[in-house]
Point group: C2
Chain length 235, copies 2
DNA sequence: ACAAAGCATATTGTCAGAAAATTATATATA
DNA sequence: TATATATAATTTTCTGACAATATGCTTTGT
């Protein structure tokens, strides 16, 4: 019944499991699959109109990525995010992106930086008549650009796996940022980049991410995993 | 023929693929499987005396971890390590372990530190009549202990996946370190930990790893991915 | 009414083999 | 000889069926 409908997902340049990996990720970000949800291999296979094996392969791949947990003889579940995870995600992100900044100060061309500045100006211009979602997207774009400028593939891979979970956090808990502050912080980032001072750039990025984390927990949580600022950046 | 022999690998508390993941990793570290080698699912399954499916699952999991690359319709190969990879591994490791140090200064108990100091004394005592392999193992133990003290699961997971590749690097290219220097550096680490100064601790760790990297490329390579010290730590 | 035991169902784990794709080998043609 | 074409062999990919295990429900005994 729903077989023919879902077959559209298979643009299938490569193989089934490859597309199923993408499909499941997308469903998690959409909210069709929530953390803690069980994934039933047979059911998913039936819905997609294919057999069990490629579904299993996709799930095994995702378990390797750490997005899905497989309980032996019980089955796969979408990894749930605890409060502790949020702390870990942000703190890891801080050092990952910190190093990216450091490298970007050395590797970015003048044009790269000019483009970032232009993008920022646009972002600031439409600040007041724009949605929070759009702001988040723009923010994400800046961070991704910096990651790309670092030209460090393992850094990017690690970032992607975290970034996915960040998106999960944002989608689950929503986010109302004070737009002005958010925008200002990104100016700091770009200025630090333009100054081409690695030490300062790294510190700025770490502080930026620490502030995001603080904002997040101040809004949503009572108990926090914090251990104080000195766990995040220098003085 | 070799079926019954290899069956011993399956202590099999959970399921086949779980053990095959461990088996393949072990074979890579042993050198039975080298980077760039192809893995033929049917052959491996036949050798182990089981069917193809669990082998495939294990390989899919490993591809998720990034240890194996799957070329669609061609098959899995053990990911090869380029020179560039070595740079990326060390630099990523520097920030990962840097953060671990930072956290360890806050989370380690006095006893934890005392144990590390005791271990170090032992290590130094047997310095002269010990092999390089044994020294490397001791060094690894210290690093792993610090990771554990950080009590940061995502950090540890990232570290593990790098650590695996570090071991690959070491086994492929060998390593004759100047033992004395190597040992001294670890003293610095433990002292920084004992001082419980997060900033200093992080910097010490980063410098330590940077030095390892330098030692490595000075020994083996001509061309280097370096970009200067300021990419690694503050001044 | 409640708990334990046994049965039924659902789901995972494994298998053997067909279908599709790739690679290697051999044959034919210029 | 060299190049292209056809054929064979290998390997991946996928399927459908079955066994092993866990879960939920009913029955039974007290």
């Amino acid at each position: 019944m729903s077989e023919s409908i879902n077959k559209q997902f298979f643009m299938d340049k490569q193989n089934f499991s490859h597309d199923i990996v993408a499909l499941i990720k997308q469903q998690i970000l959409n909210g069709e699959l929530s953390p803690g949800d069980r994934i039933v291999e047979t059911r998913l296979a039936r819905e997609l109109g294919i057999s069990q094996t490629p579904v299993r392969e996709a799930i095994r791949h995702l378990s390797g990525e750490g997005i899905i947990t497989i309980v032996p003889n019980k089955g796969p579940i979408v990894k749930a995010l605890e409060k502790r995870d949020v702390f870990e995600i942000y703190s890891l992100r801080a050092v990952i992106e910190g190093l990216a900044m450091r490298m970007a100060t050395q590797l970015a061309s003048d044009q790269d930086i000019a483009e970032l500045e232009a993008f920022y100006d646009e972002m600031r211009a439409k600040l007041h008549d724009d949605t929070v979602d759009s702001l988040l997207a723009d923010s994400l774009h800046i961070h991704q650009t910096i990651m790309r400028l670092s030209n460090h593939s393992k850094l990017m891979k690690t970032y992607e796996s975290i970034s996915f979970q960040i998106s999960m956090v944002n989608r689950i808990l929503g986010k109302e940022s004070t737009k002005q502050k958010e925008v200002d912080q990104h100016l700091e980032l770009i200025e630090a980049l333009a100054a081409r001072d690695p030490d300062q750039a790294e510190k700025t990025m770490r502080r930026h991410i620490y502030r995001s984390y603080r904002e997040f927990i101040d809004m949503k949580e009572e108990d926090r995993w914090e251990y104080g600022e000195h766990l995040w950046f220098e003085k």
